[in-house]
Symmetry: none
Subunit: 231 residues, 2 copies
DNA sequence: AGATCTTTTTATAAAATCTTTATGTCCGAA
DNA sequence: TTCGGACATAAAGATTTTATAAAAAGATCT
């Protein structure tokens, strides 16, 4: 198995060096960047598993970098900063940071927090294509096939199916599905879900009246089952 | 209407009160528990979206509760503690905590960290499954199997079974079961219990007339026994 | 702009679940 | 042995939740 890669964005050479050595000796692959721009470029070419971002950068406001990264980078971002005032912490967390550590930090704690963050972010979808009994989903290319024939899905339909399929076998609540697919504002519009679930079933189930892949859990939510026969 | 729910596990009434008020006024649904045991039972009937766990609990070592919860509960768990020593922090994080906040904490930061945890965390780790002689319960996925085949349970049925199974071998009183599953208002509706126990037996017992897992303790309540042969 | 596709909203039918009622069983105490 | 209390179970009734079609509104593309 590959080592997790961590990108350290910090303008202070000393600290960067220290972090790099610590992380490397704990079996991480370390990438370094001394400015925000450099960091962003690095992320776009070699997306790391986690980013350690120092908020005291010179060339740009650290918060701006964070916001910018969060528009498209979804792995954990951990902030390191000398700033102890609450406003900064809250702002960073609300801008998408997963954690906020105050300098000077304790190495053991930093490592433990990194482990925790990486643990949570572990994605099961290294496999770009999932094959089930009578259908398959090619996540990389957004192509869904049923019995070898590709099925045309709208963007929302695909999001919903993709989310369900990534959690094969697990019940996902209405609220969670709505939150993930439509956003916070639509968290309670359960009817959307019903409409789209019905559409998905019409497209991927052999008998939409007796769904085998998309199961409803009344009062809770829905559950995707890739291979119904072994369930 | 459908707010995220947070379970506060803390033995200090004062702090619990404070947290509850703060969280409620920030649009969360709050559940309270004053002991680890209580917390675990609450989680089994009404799994919250996030748990705030104080590590200074009296009845059991907080770390043990954390470990126990993590065996099947996959939503975020945030630790609150007066302990500032690194060893405790590292241990908690490595035992599955998502964050660790030192008391006294700042309210704004707490709320921001909760938002962050709720936003990000949806980890599907390989969940251990409670296996019994002829049945199994996968708490994280909410799947109950009998003889390898999954059994369809309604939301209430599952809550009840989950609560019983989390107290394997122990008698739970009618009143307690009703309170936990249906709420205070239905504490005395013993007939509900009979109806649902009968339904559960029909679904998970090989011979519902001679139940081996769900035992009646006449005049007191019910007892779940995972492995009857070794009991 | 017009045609087409997609999402949102509305309406209603259907299904699933919960609650209540009715009836029967078991078991210990008088 | 009979009675009463606690329990089991089926089934009817009530309520909640879900499915689906279809219309309205909004986007997109040429």
């Amino acid at each position: 198995m590959n080592k997790p890669s961590i990108l350290v964005i910090d303008d202070e050479h000393q600290i960067r060096k220290l972090l790099t050595i610590t992380l490397q000796s704990n079996n991480y692959n370390v990438l370094e960047a001394s400015t925000g721009k450099e960091g962003i470029n690095s992320v776009s070419t070699h997306p790391p598993d986690l980013i350690l971002l120092d908020l005291g950068l010179p060339d740009e406001n650290g918060h701006a970098i964070l916001t910018h990264l969060r528009e498209w980078f979804s792995n954990p971002i951990m902030i390191i900063s000398v700033q102890t005032n609450e406003e900064d912490i809250v702002k960073a967390l609300d801008n998408g940071a997963n954690d906020y550590l105050i300098k000077p930090f304790r190495t053991g704690e930093l490592l433990a927090r990194i482990r925790s963050a990486l643990r949570g972010a572990r994605k099961d979808s290294n496999n770009p294509v999932a094959k089930f009994e009578d259908m398959s989903i090619d996540f990389a290319n957004r192509v869904v096939k049923k019995g070898g024939v590709s099925v045309k899905l709208t963007s929302t339909e695909y999001s919903l199916l993709s989310l369900l399929a990534h959690n094969d076998g697990k019940v996902l609540t209405h609220r969670y599905l709505l939150h993930q697919v439509w956003g916070v504002a639509r968290q309670n519009e359960s009817q959307y879900l019903r409409v789209f679930i019905a559409q998905l079933r019409k497209k991927i189930e052999s008998d939409p009246n007796r769904p085998r892949h998309i199961i409803t859990e009344s009062g809770i939510g829905y559950r995707f089952i890739g291979n119904p026969s072994t369930f």
